[in-house]
Symmetry: C2
Subunit: 400 residues, 2 copies
């Protein structure tokens, strides 16, 4: 029987989920795949903290090098949620010959090419299925798709917190701050929700997916972004009258040989596919020239779904079913998100002649609510102020 | 560069799709994965037939043994649509040391355990992603899921022909035979559509999925089945009034330790997930105890999507990313589909006192249309006649 030792960096929700699944499926791993999996070391910030999923006290450590430099550890699972500290840990693990699995989209997004390069060079695995879409299998299928397809588009609802907030605001007619507070109490939103609600988290996931899909680095700075924190109950109500619901969608596509990528709130028709993805669920769709459109749906976050994705990567390493894939090579298309245009719902206060000149329809006059003609998103962002009394939502008539 | 020779058994729609993708992506395979893929031999029934996707004449053969016993061929792709002839070909290929990929659900369903056993014994690959869900990746993700999860349920719309017919009947109010004729003209239905419309095709796919999901053989005879050929425009209209649409759904689940499996027309609520899967699309959902519910959606058939799935399996073999998985072992739950019960919409002619005794609601009296109380499906089937004036549709109130 193969014996595999895991080292886990971080013991929050997902880390405890990993421990829980290993505890519950320990015998099954032995019987089904002939592997004895043991968590050897776990990095924590506080040795004395009480935790829901118990482990022998001796596995906990405050020093990540006891994991990344530990000769007995085969696979390092990085779940810190940090960026630069996580970078040091991952590089240390790879340099010490460990395979690495991470659920940390922020660090993958920032150092994607570098990690892959080191892993390839050292013939190690660097896998990150859990970094996008929580429990949804999307990274592995996407690598399968790009081997046979030219990808036309990848888009999705990729942030459970935002989707939960927007769904609740729609269902209950409540205001943004009330729902956010409720989401924080229920554990669906972090104490500091800024990276979720301002779009950063979705952008990082989109950066990873678009880099794989288009086989060239599409970095964070090349993606336009707008979040959901300025959306009010009144916006949802006004758009609902027109048969629409609002979703935060990350969207990256190849438009006649140019890559365009954007994260922003989109008003889609009720009855469309994305309108049916509610609560903390995520869905990602991929369009290839051979396979057509595929849609993947599941829990976008949560202890067990995310831990399930982390352990799927670990089992792939153990069973030698997946290797670090080369991405970000072979293609050199222009990336030009600045030219993304559309029709927008805009709510703003005060008089703004320039903005008014783009109006195709005026829904309200105090505050002003307009639906624009086709116009560049960047142009609109330059004109409108960035205060909380301004919201921009793309109006999407297509098949979403 | 690795050189790989394929032998293809059958050159219909999917076979030509395989050839087309290889022609279009030949250089990409070389650059991206360092493989030179060539179709060496193709089994056909008629050497002189004109074909859309051209190949050098010398590759065509009338004798399958020129492929399965050919020393130069590495992977045999079986696409005949036959059952017992296909069995001979697959066994011959495996016995001659070839990896085998098939899209043929009928032969996989009938000989699933035997093929896997031979392949395992000879350390060869036997893969069949394209046999279920066309272009949708479902077999590989399901094998990933069962390693970490106890599966509670797998269900889906798995037959594009039936779904196309039901969608068209719903949209246009047309009769079954008119839509079937149209579907045949458009190539969405075979000249002999019986295995699609009577439920056999869905049953075979469900047999494969449930065997993987529950880790024990669930054979065809253990699955209850009813098809769509008796459904009339009037049934669709009556159910539409109650906010429902009809879908042919294959459903297999673990009910307190007992496996139950059924294929039958189900009236789901408009607005539910399955109600949004229309036309020739398929969708399969899987519920695991760790990962929660995952949904997979895509083209259920068609030249390129199915060929894409076939070639994904081939690339997995070439890149050593996937091996024949062991299924159908480790578990020994009771399989007892006979006890499946539900509420049913039943249309029948003439007087039937026994059936009337199960009625909870009478929707019409000539013909009789009733909605039953909760009753066993098997009991209803025993009472009603099998003529074309009788239709049974499950009424589903749950989250479908």
């Amino acid at each position: 029987m193969k014996k595999v030792h895991l080292g886990v960096l971080g013991y929050g929700t997902v880390g405890q989920g990993v421990a829980k699944i290993i505890q519950e499926r320990y015998e099954q791993f032995k019987e089904m795949i002939d592997v004895d999996i043991e968590i050897k070391k776990v990095l924590v910030r506080d040795l004395s903290k009480e935790r829901e999923i118990k482990l022998d006290e001796k596995v906990f450590t405050l020093d990540y090098k006891e994991i990344t430099e530990n000769d007995e550890i085969d696979i390092v699972i990085e779940l810190t949620g940090e960026i630069d500290k996580a970078y040091d840990m991952i590089v240390s693990a790879l340099n010490n010959g460990k395979d690495v699995v991470t659920a940390n989209k922020a660090v993958v997004s920032k150092y994607f090419e570098e990690f892959t390069c080191i892993a390839k060079e050292k013939d190690l695995n660097f896998l990150y299925e859990a970094s996008v879409g929580g429990g949804i299998p999307i990274i592995k299928p996407l690598y399968d798709i790009v081997k046979l397809n030219r990808v036309k588009r990848v888009r999705g609802i990729m942030n459970g917190t935002c989707n939960y907030i927007l769904s609740k605001m729609t269902e209950e007619g409540s205001g943004y701050l009330d729902v956010l507070k409720e989401a924080q109490e229920l554990g669906y939103a972090e104490a500091d929700p800024s990276s979720d609600v301002n779009g950063d988290d979705t952008l990082r996931k989109l950066r990873i997916l678009s880099t794989i899909a288009f086989k060239q680095p599409i970095i964070e700075d090349e993606i336009l972004m707008d979040g959901i924190s300025k959306i009010k109950a009144s916006d949802i109500k006004l758009l609902e009258k027109n048969g629409r619901v609002i979703k935060l969608i990350g969207d990256t596509w190849n438009e006649d040989g140019t890559i365009k990528s954007i994260v922003q709130p989109v008003a889609v028709f009720k009855g469309s596919y994305f309108s049916s993805v509610n609560g903390a669920f995520n869905s990602i769709t991929v369009e290839g020239d051979m396979v057509g459109e595929l849609k993947f749906y599941g829990s976008g976050a949560g202890m067990l779904p995310t831990a399930n994705a982390v352990l799927t990567d670990c089992l792939d390493i153990i069973l030698e079913n997946q290797k670090t894939e080369t991405h970000g090579v072979g293609c050199d298309l222009e990336v030009k998100s600045d030219t993304i245009s559309g029709k927008f719902y805009i709510r703003y206060e005060g008089d703004n002649k320039e903005l008014a000149s783009y109006a195709d329809e005026v829904l309200s006059e105090s505050p002003y609510v307009i639906i624009t003609k086709e116009v560049e998103f960047k142009k609109i962002k330059q004109i409108v102020s960035d205060d909380e009394n301004t919201a921009i939502i793309r109006i999407e008539d297509g098949d979403y």
